[in-house]
């Protein structure tokens, strides 16, 4: 308890001091609360002004003669009239429905209106010249020349629009002219078709004939969700940036700042372990980062709320209302068509009466579309009742930010611990900031990226994508689990490295020694076990490497033999080789680090019992787990794929690659290096739990995480009690090997009462045979628990390394 009290003392003091620091306050409070809304307001205003400016602006278009001028003016006028008529109809419809009439033109899309355009007849110069020397925004030349008197004559024309590509206004006019002229073309098209139809079918409205397809988009997403899509792209990036910025100053100040002001020496001489000091400081950095996140999120929410952005989103957008209106209109029209024609094949007789009820014939279509409208209305009403989207999503996002803050708190602390002065620390912070911001930025530009595959374990990027998925409400729990666990692993490694560096004398006193002592082998003192920081850092680095290797090296295109070799190589090169080399480099006692000693006879008996019983027991655990959490299709597929990939290989190769090699290599890493690193600082139980969890994380299977944790704990326990790595290796081999062999050998199936079939996943084998194996297993464990002991207490192992 006293330990934690000291951490608390450090935490409280650092927090008080940090909150009195102007720089921290500026980054943490002023930026989100003052600067941020101001920037947002300026941005919004700029957008609005730009739009309204464009709309208010006057444009000149040059034409070669009066006929051109008249024709173009008519085109603009017709288009304006049409739009006004459409708006009036819409307004009438909404008013009839008892709703408020919105301005359909609201929003940020600019349209070129007739009154904005001055059409000038240019007679003296060529249009090309006149547009080039910026007298006009654009020029129009029609060939053959238009006839304003008959706007739909049967002559086909070519229209050339002359504009300046580099002038945004000129380009705007060009784009608008493009639209306007396209509409005109459509209009002429319609006139001609109507004329044709009248020739063929006689007089009458032929609108239905002319519009074989009318398209109305029906989005099932609530307006809230659509707003969320935008938010989900922008906010994670902003939050990541702001959180890192907020945490930066305290991280520097609490480490390099303390060193620079000469208080570190005093602190180091006080009777408190470095770990506790670092823990307190780390707590403050995470706290400040989270306060920063909260303030930013709060400020954003308030901003969006005040500026009415969320209102805009939670109400129907005008264009969307128009869309709904269009859909309703279409339904009505098609109902009218169908009711009159009966068969609906030809619109020829549509001028006829309205005798038959339309309801039955178009019931289906009508149902779905009315359903849509009702659904939409309901969603809109719901959205209006809520205070705003960000407010409801904020707590979830805050939760997702915690592991991020923890990770970057750790990384920053580690980077700053390395620095001797404030300035030096600021330099180190640059790459750290980049490491946070760039992945976040890249991912926010890739809205289709889902949280899967390598991304799950990619630091920062996984958190950003997770946040986005949380916003959109489409995350899955197993992915979330992997993200959180891997982030915690990285964070733990970062914090331990920070603690290690913080107390190191080369870092503590800038006037003595150099960083070489941290890295050069000849300055290392021989030790028995790896330092905790090294052990954790090693697994943290190996984890993504292993993940990439696993997904990158095995391919379905290459042969099974090649894949087998790759699996084996991955195991050796990633699990075993690095830690053995590292152990040599750190001048560790290899025999003690990797627990290379023969177990006692009594322990050998226990090991044999465990070897015999491990396969059915782990199978039982797996079945229990699958009964509670049924295995996903993905997992079944994976097992099937593995069977397909390696099915044609000889049995001994399969056993070697999937039983023997992993058992040896994984034990070397987890029960050797990692356990050795942890057991100096932790009790046996804690070591078993930590190693178990990390062991499970490495197996990248959220569905079986509990199972792997338990197995990892058992193996760690075996290793700690026997003081030897060999029993754990043997039990590991036995488990993997027997579970593989059961699928091949009928005799083994009978002996263990297991089936090799995938279909039996999740059926718990409750029977006497299973019970016997459980008992054997428990006896084995008990034998280990009663005799022998933690390695530390055994002769020759008691003294700390010198």
């Amino acid at each position: 308890m006293k330990r934690y009290r000291r951490v608390w003392v450090v935490y409280r003091k650092e927090l008080v001091e940090t909150l009195r620091d102007r720089r921290t306050l500026i980054a943490m409070v002023v930026v989100p609360i003052v600067l941020y809304p101001v920037l947002m307001v300026i941005l919004l205003e700029a957008l609005k002004t730009e739009t309204s400016r464009r709309q208010a602006e006057h444009y000149t278009i040059a034409v070669p003669d009066e006929a051109h001028r008249q024709w173009l003016a008519d085109v603009f006028k017709r288009r304006d009239d049409e739009r006004l008529a459409r708006q009036a109809a819409y307004a009438q419809a909404t008013e009839a429905a008892g709703e408020d009439v919105d301005d359909v033109e609201a929003g940020f899309i600019a349209h070129l209106h007739a009154d904005q355009v001055t059409i000038v007849v240019e007679r003296t110069r060529s249009l090309w010249e006149a547009v080039t020397d910026q007298t006009y925004h654009a020029g129009i030349l029609v060939q053959p020349p238009p006839d304003p008197a008959s706007p739909a004559d049967p002559i086909n024309r070519i229209i050339q629009v002359i504009y300046r590509d580099i002038d945004p206004r000129s380009e705007f006019v060009y784009q608008q002219l493009n639209r306007v002229l396209y509409d005109e073309s459509e209009r002429i098209h319609a006139v001609r078709m109507t004329a044709l139809a009248e020739q063929v079918y006689g007089a009458g409205p032929h609108d239905a004939l002319l519009q074989p397809l009318r398209i109305g988009g029906l989005s099932t997403a609530s307006p809230e969700k659509q707003f969320a899509k935008i938010i989900a792209m922008v906010v994670p990036f902003l939050l990541v940036t702001m959180t890192v910025t907020g945490a930066m100053y305290p991280a520097i100040d609490l480490t390099a700042g303390e060193r620079e002001r000469g208080t570190l020496e005093t602190l180091a001489v006080s009777p408190v372990p470095t770990g506790q000091i670092v823990a307190g400081k780390f707590g403050v950095i995470v706290t400040i980062a989270m306060i920063s996140t909260m303030l930013n999120l709060g400020s954003m929410t308030a901003m969006v709320h005040v500026s009415g952005l969320d209102k805009l989103a939670s109400q129907t957008q005008p264009s969307r209302q128009a869309e709904s209106f269009l859909v309703e209109q279409m339904i009505a029209e098609s109902a009218a068509d169908r009711s009159s024609s009966g068969t609906g094949v030809s619109p020829v007789d549509s001028s006829g009466g309205t005798g038959v009820s339309p309801v039955d014939s178009i019931y289906d279509a009508r149902f779905s579309q009315y359903d849509y409208l009702q659904q939409r209305q309901r969603l809109e009403e719901q959205a209006e009742q809520k205070i705003g989207f960000l407010t409801t999503a904020a707590p979830v996002v805050l939760m997702a930010m915690i592991p991020f803050a923890v990770l970057f708190g750790g990384v920053m602390l580690a980077a700053c611990s390395f620095a001797r002065t404030f300035k030096e620390a600021q330099n180190y912070m640059m790459p750290v900031m980049m490491a946070a911001i760039i992945p976040a930025m890249i991912v926010s530009y890739m809205p289709t990226v889902r949280l899967e595959g390598i991304l799950l374990v990619m630091p920062v990027a996984n958190i950003v994508v997770l946040m986005r998925e949380l916003f959109l409400g489409q995350y899955d729990v197993s992915g979330m689990g992997i993200v959180l666990l891997s982030t915690c692993l990285y964070a733990a490694a970062a914090v331990t490295v920070a603690a290690k560096l913080y107390g190191h004398e080369a870092v503590l006193f800038s006037d003595v020694g150099s960083y070489k002592t941290l890295l050069r082998r000849r300055f290392f003192r021989p030790r028995a076990f790896p330092p905790v920081a090294f052990a954790l850092l090693t697994v943290a680095v190996l984890f993504p490497v292993y993940f990439y290797a696993q997904s990158g090296l095995i391919s379905f295109d290459s042969s099974g033999a090649r894949n087998l070799t790759m699996v084996a190589l991955t195991q050796v090169m990633i699990f075993a080789a690095p830690v053995v080399v590292l152990a040599w480099y750190l001048k560790l006692d290899l025999r003690r680090t990797f627990s290379i000693r023969l177990p006692r006879l009594w322990h050998c008996f226990a090991t044999l019992l465990l070897m015999a019983a491990i396969a059915p027991v782990s199978n039982l655990l797996q079945q229990i787990q699958f009964a509670v959490f049924p295995p996903s299709e993905a997992l079944r597929d994976l097992v099937m794929q593995q069977a397909l990939l390696f099915g044609d290989q000889p049995w001994w190769a399969i056993l070697l690659v999937f039983a023997a090699v992993p058992a040896v290599c994984e034990e070397v890493l987890f029960r050797g290096f990692l356990t050795a690193g942890l057991r100096e600082k932790m009790s046996g139980l804690k070591v078993a739990i930590v190693v178990g969890v990390i062991f499970a994380v490495f197996h990248i299977s959220v569905e079986r995480i509990l199972l792997f944790t338990l197995m990892g704990m058992v193996l760690t326990f075996v290793c700690l009690r026997t003081g030897s790595i060999f029993p754990a290796m043997l039990i590991h081999v036995a488990n993997n090997g027997l579970l593989l062999a059961v699928q091949e050998s009928g005799w083994l199936q009978g002996f263990y009462g297991l089936s090799g079939s995938l279909d039996d996943l999740g059926t718990i084998p409750w029977n006497v045979r299973a019970a016997i194996f459980v008992v054997v297993f428990v006896v084995g464990i008990a034998m280990l628990a009663t005799r022998g002991g933690d390695i530390k207490e055994q002769a020759g192992m008691a003294l700390p390394p010198t």
């Binding site: 003392v9 008080v16 001091e17 002001r261 005093t266 009777p271 004398e505 006193f509 002592t517």
Partner: protein, 279 residues
Amino acid sequence: MIEVHELVKVFPTTEGGENRAVDDVSFNVAAGEIFGLLGPNGAGKTTALRMVSGLLTPTSGWVRLNGHDVRVDRETAKRSLGYLTANTGLYQRLSPREVLRYFGLLIGMERTAVDRRIEVLIEWLDMSSFANLRCGGLSTGQKQRTNIARALMGDPPILIMDEPTLGLDVLTNRVVLDFIRAEGTRGKAIILSTHYLDEAETLCDRFGLLHEGALRALGSLAELREQSDRQRLSEIFLHLCGLQEHVLDHGLENGGRGASDAEDCGARSGGSSSDGGVS
């Protein structure tokens, strides 16, 4: 109280070689004794004291404080230690009172005990006028008084002081020296490292002369006088370090404060002193 045994510290140099900053230094300090660790700049005083207080790990040798090995029993050993240097900083944004409270709680004192102790120290060191101001705005003297109070928070039986009077004005200098004397008479084991030799001469009971990492002489003033056949500490120092002629050449012997003299000759003497090993 303080036992220092065959202490060695080797630093790597930038050229890839080795620098024996402290070379086989041994001495003991009993309770109630003020031990002066003297030597020019770069002699290894600070490195030695950092090893004694557990800030640096010795390459070989060991230190016991109050019976506890500093490396094995780090926290317990440090608990009996008060540490003070001239360039020890204070937390700029905390007040002296808050600094004292922080360190009091860190060494594991109870809250009420901490408060009582703070009042005692504030009164004793006459700190009440600035006890609640931020440390960033204090004068050098006020800061050093706060530092003394901090070192005394847990009333440790051992005090290690590395150049505690460096850069102080006459008044504060007086305060620091009085405090050291008083603590000595209260039965504490004190190591005082300084290159103000006249200060050391009046304060210390025994001396260790450190030069180029090695202890060249060890003993009381009387013993040193006998060994060197010199009267003043600065003369003894120069003689025992084998620097005499060199310094006389430069006519520096009659300076009031031996500090800068020793410093200069230490810096200039280079490798010429291998002949004068005494300890």
